[in-house]
Amino acid sequence: MFTKKQLFTKGILAVAPHMFSVIPFGIVCGAIGIELGFSPIMVYAISIIIFGGASQIVFLQLLSGGASTLIAVTSVGVINSRHLLYGAVLSEYLEKLSFIKKLLISYIVVDQGFAESNKFFQKNKNQPYLHYHLIGTGSTLWIFWQLSTLSGIILGSFVPEELGLKFAVPLTFIAIVVQDFKKLDHVIVMITCGLSSLLFFDAPYKSYIIISPIIALFVAALVLRLKK
């Protein structure tokens, strides 16, 4: 049995290594916003109001490129629709929370936090207060995201583009899935998703980011059927 505080701490520690990618990416996000000509207050407000890495960049790029607000907003919704899948997975562990707590905790469900907390939940299904782990991962990501986008806003064009800091993003997700390379069923699902994302990359509203997981989950269902 872990105490609430232990779970919270474990969450922080589980997600802390990902800051090596969150911080550079946050700086890039803030710097791009300024470079595109948006006011610092607006760029920073987006980090709080939308709080969704890549979707923030896409949103500002579309607006500055003259796209309609409808297209920009739709794209953000489509890119972030993957959270529906995270919520569906996490709901098993958050079922017992009160409605208000569910509403509050939802705000801090982010990719890396979901990934690390989900790994922990799978191994510790019967623990009470599991949501403290998710609060640990989510709030750590939130704080570092705010600080790093703010730094990007201040540093602005001082961040050298040649560094290719955005490359840290695929690397952080490689670190998340790489241990599942041992499992053939997971490898099949990953390759399906990856190839689909390249195939559908030009689909409207960046919808490859939800189309390819849906295709991959259908393949996962097939794999499950074959395993029986």
């Binding site: 990902h18 090596f20 990618s21 109001i49 939308i50 969704g52 979707s55 949103f59 607000t69 907003v73 919704g77 972030n80 993957r82 959270h83 529906l84 899948l85 995270y86 919520g87 569906a88 997975v89 709901s91 098993e92 079922e95 409605f99 569910k102 509403l103 939802s106 989900n118 560094l163 290719g164 490359f167 840290a168 695929p170 690397l171 952080t172 997700f173 490689i174 670190a175 998340i176 790489v178 241990q179 390379f181 997971h186 699902v189 990953m190 390759i191 998703c193 990856g194 994302s197 390249l198 990359f201 490859y208 980011i209 390819s212 997981p213 991959a216 989950l217 996962a220 269902a221 499950l224």
Partner: protein
């Protein structure tokens, strides 16, 4: 107008996070769907990984000798054997930098 669109985008994003946690009763999901959901990380994250490696800032495919491919391979090998997130990220980034700055 921009502020309004930021707020709407924020509300929509919040709903993507909140709907399945707070509004949908988990019992509505059948056992089969729950079993498939175990694959969510493997089914979602490659859609961030693959384009992040193989497609450049201009939306076109990279060359097969692009340093990002080398960086990704190093990261996969280091990550697989070290099981360490920091080592995975830093090995990928530094091998990428070695190629673009030194070679």
């Amino acid at each position: 107008m921009t502020w309004l669109s930021i707020i709407i985008a924020g509300i929509i994003t919040y709903f993507t996070r909140m709907t399945m946690v707070a509004l949908v009763d988990r019992d509505l999901l059948g056992e089969k769907i729950k079993a498939v959901l175990a694959y969510v990380p493997s089914a979602v994250f490659p859609a961030i990984i693959f384009p992040g490696i193989f497609i450049n800032d201009y939306g076109t495919f990279i060359e097969m000798n692009d340093p990002k491919i080398f960086g990704a391979i190093v990261a996969i090998l280091v990550g697989y054997f070290s099981k360490n997130v920091i080592a995975t990220i830093l090995s990928g980034l530094s091998s990428y930098w070695v190629i673009i700055f030194l070679l």
